[in-house]
């Protein structure tokens, strides 16, 4: 035994026989998994071990090796989105948006896709505005007594009965539209958060092998969109060199053709490059296997369709679930068999490690808690508009949103933003 290992923990374990040794091993096992089950047992380990634990619990600096699985981010964001869809309380919605925004601010990189969050926030605000504008112009079935103003009403012919343009605008209907719009905006912002935090290309890489080619098509298309935008900007500024105004509809129309031409040429070049780099190499697969694959995939998809119809339709509840299960199974087997045709391997696939599980679980927890909250305090989650009352922040539902903050502490921290070089000379 070396000197270094003569620590108190080992000293208790070493002298007395197997039972003590086993207990010490158990203790060690309780401390070792980095899941953060609790503080280290006070007397079991020396200070050094507690420090090691803290070091393990601290979120590491992100790199490729410890990146969260993009699926985990999506599960987290969808969990928040589900929670948002279960309430119209503006305070709770604001809390959900705040949680998503905090996590994005804490954990997003400065990659191009990470900038999409701002766009989604703007889109959300636009949706709120649009919802209110529609409510003002088209009226609302919500009855209300607080009349704010009256728009001149457009007389419509008899066949357009039930449609109203203009007319009375009440405070109740505006508040209702605001709540409704906020809900949609919160959903959009949750999706935007997932977009900003997870690299979309890496998510597609997690698709099964048989769907790989579809995934590549989408990835190439996604890298094209920014290129297309860059082309438009470049050509628009180049118009200045010809002495033509750079703004306006005419400018966009005139550069449309060159931009499309450029995009087409580039896509041909990328296709050539992909071909020369081995895209679409296939392994030889016996005909029987290929047929089986086709039958299983198609049959499975049909089964899934029929099964879900059965589940949703009133009379088919009996056969719906088994059919859906069988269909899913057949489709999965088909996809796996189909994967045999592809010789591809994967370079450093993202792993669903403990931190990914925590992130995903936090989102799911928020969703489940909010669904439960609907059962016991429905009124607090859906503040009434008739009569008009100020919404209150219910304590328990509000607390149940907070687990969504977990990713801001467990997800790997993106490295301090590197000095960016100019993309072009």
């Amino acid at each position: 035994m070396t000197r270094a290992s003569e620590t108190p923990a080992d000293a208790t374990a070493a002298p007395t026989g197997p039972r003590h040794a086993a207990r010490a091993a158990l203790r060690r096992a309780a401390v070792e998994p980095g899941s953060g089950t609790g503080p280290a047992l006070p007397r079991s380990g020396p200070a050094g071990r507690a420090v090691g634990l803290r070091a393990r619990l601290l979120a590491p600096v992100a790199d490729r090796g410890n990146a969260l699985h993009p699926g985990a981010w999506w599960l987290w964001a969808l969990g928040l989105a589900v929670a948002a869809s279960r309430t119209t309380n503006p305070l709770l919605l604001g809390l959900i948006v705040g949680v998503a925004g905090y996590v994005v601010a804490a954990r997003r990189t400065d990659a191009p896709w990470a900038r999409s969050y701002g766009a989604f926030v703007k889109l959300g605000l636009f949706v709120v505005g649009l919802r209110i504008a529609f409510s003002v112009v088209l009226g609302s079935p919500v009855p209300g007594s607080h009349e704010l103003f009256t728009l001149p009403e457009l007389p419509l012919p008899g066949w357009a009965q039930g449609i109203r343009i203009g007319g009375r605008v009440t405070a109740e209907q505006l508040v209702f539209a605001l709540y409704d719009g906020l809900k949609l905006a919160a959903l959009l912002i949750c999706v935007g958060a997932a977009n900003a935090l997870a690299n979309p290309a890496r998510l597609l890489k997690s698709l099964p092998g048989a769907l790989y080619e579809a995934g590549v098509a989408v990835v190439v298309a996604m890298t094209f969109a920014p290129n297309l935008v860059a082309d438009v900007v470049r050509l628009r500024t180049a118009r200045r060199l010809r002495g033509r105004p750079t703004g306006g509809v005419r400018a966009v129309l005139q550069i449309g053709l060159p931009v499309l031409e450029g995009a087409l040429e580039r896509s041909v070049a990328v296709a050539a490059s992909m071909d020369a780099r081995g895209y679409g190499r296939t392994a030889h697969v016996p005909t029987a296997v290929r047929r089986t694959t086709d039958v299983l995939t198609l049959g499975g998809l049909l089964g899934v369709c029929a099964g879900s119809y059965g589940l949703l339709a009133a009379e088919g509840a009996g056969y719906g679930l088994p059919l859906l299960g069988a269909g899913l199974l057949a489709a999965v087997v088909g996809l796996r068999l189909g994967g045999r045709r592809s010789v591809r391997t994967r370079y450093r696939p993202d792993r669903f490690g403990p931190r990914s599980w925590l992130v995903a679980a936090s989102g799911v927890a928020v969703a489940l808690l909010m669904i439960r909250a609907n059962a016991h305090s429905f009124d607090a989650l859906h503040p009434g508009v008739v009569p008009l009352i100020a919404p209150e922040l219910p304590l328990w539902p509000a607390l149940s949103v907070l687990p969504g903050l977990l990713p801001a502490f467990v997800a790997p921290v993106p490295p301090a933003s590197p000095t960016r070089e100019e993309p072009s000379a």
């Binding site: 990835v219 180049a238 200045r240 060199l241 070049a269 780099r277 591809r344 100019e422 993309p423």
Partner: protein, 585 residues
């Protein structure tokens, strides 16, 4: 390793075959350089090796191409992917994924290599090409040289036996090009890779070649043999031919060893100025006397620069340090055409330019040099008003470019962008010219006459896309010159040009300078700078680090010195032409 047997390639709609009866054998582990003027089928020959011609491009290939025993007729490019690595002219068109590490792994994933092997090879390649720092970076944020290295790395990871490169260094600054070439040489020497490469800038590559293939004759020989007869050759060869050295030197080092006698003959003589006219010394940077509009622009611009909404931003920055420009000062013939004062440009957090001062007088030719991403293009864009300065002032003929109506501005300054195609919108040359006349308010036919003068033999109905690089550049230049701007800017004009097209461009630009146009060009091409330019401005990290007469700035710099200067240093000779003239005197 590579064998061509009586290969001809004919594209559809082409008048004749692009390649005719090529017989060729390239053994393993050789670096073969393809040389020849534009349009002789260099890219076609390279494409035939990787199978992209004719499987991808169409056209008819007769004869037989085999690579390591595999016939490209029966093997698709993807079935040759483990054997041949191809890098095209434009690295951006090569990338399939979005980050460096994924891009390096892409080829191996397609071939189905084991994950452990992939991991090891990616690490090796990152080190080999010096990309380790960039491994997680999105490719779109890399500079041109970095992108080119990633493109080469992405085909190296599959360990191909043959590497096919189409102009791998033409977009790179001299030192980035050296890096790429050093990597290629290492592959050839250490790993026995066979490399087939086409390149116009022979002065960069010819010394690395084991053999040279001259097209369209399809003669394969040692570099010295081929260079003795080739119509395209680097300055070192031209000097060797001039001095009658045999065997011809291919490297600066060989040439220096022979040059003792030539240096002796040249002692006491002085090189003629690159342009046949007295060169006006550039006004020294610093507080200069009367600012304000110059004589050339007529009344309209005084109104423009004087006031009104567009100039308000400039006026704000003027307010702090200077008086506003006087509306109509006395004509001042020596006033600079370009007057840049403490210019700074920021993009987000990036300071693209910092404290840049630049004056350019009428009739002067100035080259902006510096590595990729140093801010050269940004400076040019600022001069034509495509980018507004963050602080400092920019005046072109007394106008503030970004606040001037584009229609007025094109009569003061014209820019030929890096991609001349960006300037061309029309379907035919003649429509393009008509549009240019209309834009510039020039009499109809002005632009067409310029095109005929610059590139004789371009027909009216040609689509601009079908022109060669050189012709397209000339068309864009003609479009810009239609408005007769006193200042002409060119961004990387020699990219993709062969020596003949370059010589024509130099002649044209000299004629323009003699006619009183000021010319500013951003370039990596040191030989072009040596032949054409009075003054070199070196930009690094967004700042001007050197500004002076070409001979002074360039001779002392290892990266920016042209070959003749390196051979005849410390004497200030820059071009073969100067030496020739001196010897004839």
């Amino acid at each position: 390793m590579i064998r061509f047997e009586n290969v001809s390639v004919t594209y559809e709609d082409a008048a004749g075959p692009t390649l005719r009866g090529v017989d060729l054998t390239v053994p393993e582990g050789e670096l073969v350089l393809l040389v020849g003027p534009s349009g002789v089928g260099k890219s076609t020959l390279l494409g035939a090796v990787s199978g992209l011609v004719p499987h991808f491009t169409g056209g008819t290939l007769s004869g037989r191409v085999t690579v390591d025993g595999r016939d490209t007729r029966t093997h698709h490019p993807r079935e040759l992917a483990d054997l041949v690595g191809t890098v095209g002219q434009d690295p951006l068109a090569h990338f399939v994924t979005d980050t460096v590490e994924d891009e390096l792994a892409y080829g191996m994933e397609s071939l189905g290599l084991a994950p452990a092997v992939m991991r090891r090879r990616v690490e090796e390649t990152l080190d080999l090409l010096g990309l380790a720092e960039l491994r997680d970076r999105p490719i779109a944020t890399l500079s041109g040289g970095q992108q080119q290295r990633v493109a080469i790395g992405s085909v190296l990871t599959t360990h191909p036996k043959v590497l096919v490169l189409d102009e791998p260094t033409s977009a790179l600054d001299p030192s980035a090009a050296e890096d790429v070439l050093a990597v290629l040489q290492r592959l050839v020497h250490d790993l026995g890779t066979t490399v087939l490469m086409a390149e116009h800038r022979l002065e960069r590559v010819v010394q690395y070649a084991d053999r040279v293939l001259l097209l369209p004759e399809a003669v394969l020989g040692t570099p010295a043999e081929i260079m003795a007869v080739a119509p395209v050759h680097p300055p070192v060869v031209a000097l060797g031919r001039l001095a009658g050295w045999d065997p011809l030197p291919l490297t600066v080092r060989d040439a220096r060893r022979r040059a003792g006698e030539l240096r002796a003959r040249l002692t006491g003589q002085h090189p003629a100025a690159p342009l046949p006219r007295p060169v006006r010394p550039a006004p020294a940077p610093g507080p200069h006397t009367p600012d304000g509009p110059v004589s050339a622009p007529p009344a309209s611009e005084a109104r423009r620069s004087g006031g009104g909404a567009p100039a308000s931003r400039a006026a704000k920055s003027l307010f702090r340090r200077r008086r506003a420009p006087a509306p109509a000062p006395a004509p001042e013939t020596d006033a600079p055409l370009v007057d840049v004062d403490r210019l700074a440009v920021r993009r987000g957090r990036v300071e693209a330019l910092r404290r840049v001062d630049l004056r350019v007088a009428p009739g002067e030719v100035v080259a902006l040099m510096g590595r990729n991403g140093a801010g050269k293009s940004t400076l040019l864009s600022t001069l034509v008003g495509m980018i507004a300065p963050t602080s400092g002032t920019v005046r072109v003929s007394g106008l503030v470019p970004h606040a001037t109506d584009p229609r007025d501005l094109i009569r003061r300054v014209g820019l030929v962008p890096q991609e001349p195609r960006d300037l061309l919108y029309a379907e035919t040359v003649v429509e393009e010219c008509a549009a240019a006349d209309a834009d510039a308010g020039a009499p109809p036919g002005t632009c067409r006459a310029l095109v005929t003068e610059l590139v004789p033999g371009v027909t009216d109905a040609t689509h601009p896309r079908d022109l060669s690089e050189g012709q397209r550049l000339a068309l864009a230049l003609a479009v810009v010159l239609t408005a007769a701007p006193p200042l002409v800017l060119l961004d990387e004009p020699t990219r993709g040009l062969d020596y003949a097209a370059k010589a024509r461009l130099v002649a044209r630009l000299r004629a323009l300078a003699t006619a009183g146009h000021a010319i500013v060009l951003a370039t990596h091409d040191v030989e072009l700078a040596a032949e054409l330019v009075d003054r070199v401005v070196i930009v690094a990290g967004g700042e001007v680090v050197a500004d002076g007469p070409t001979a002074e700035v360039v001779v002392s710099s290892p990266a920016f010195a042209p070959q003749v200067a390196k051979i005849l240093a410390p004497e200030p000779w820059l071009t073969v032409e100067q030496v020739e003239e001196a010897l004839c005197r």
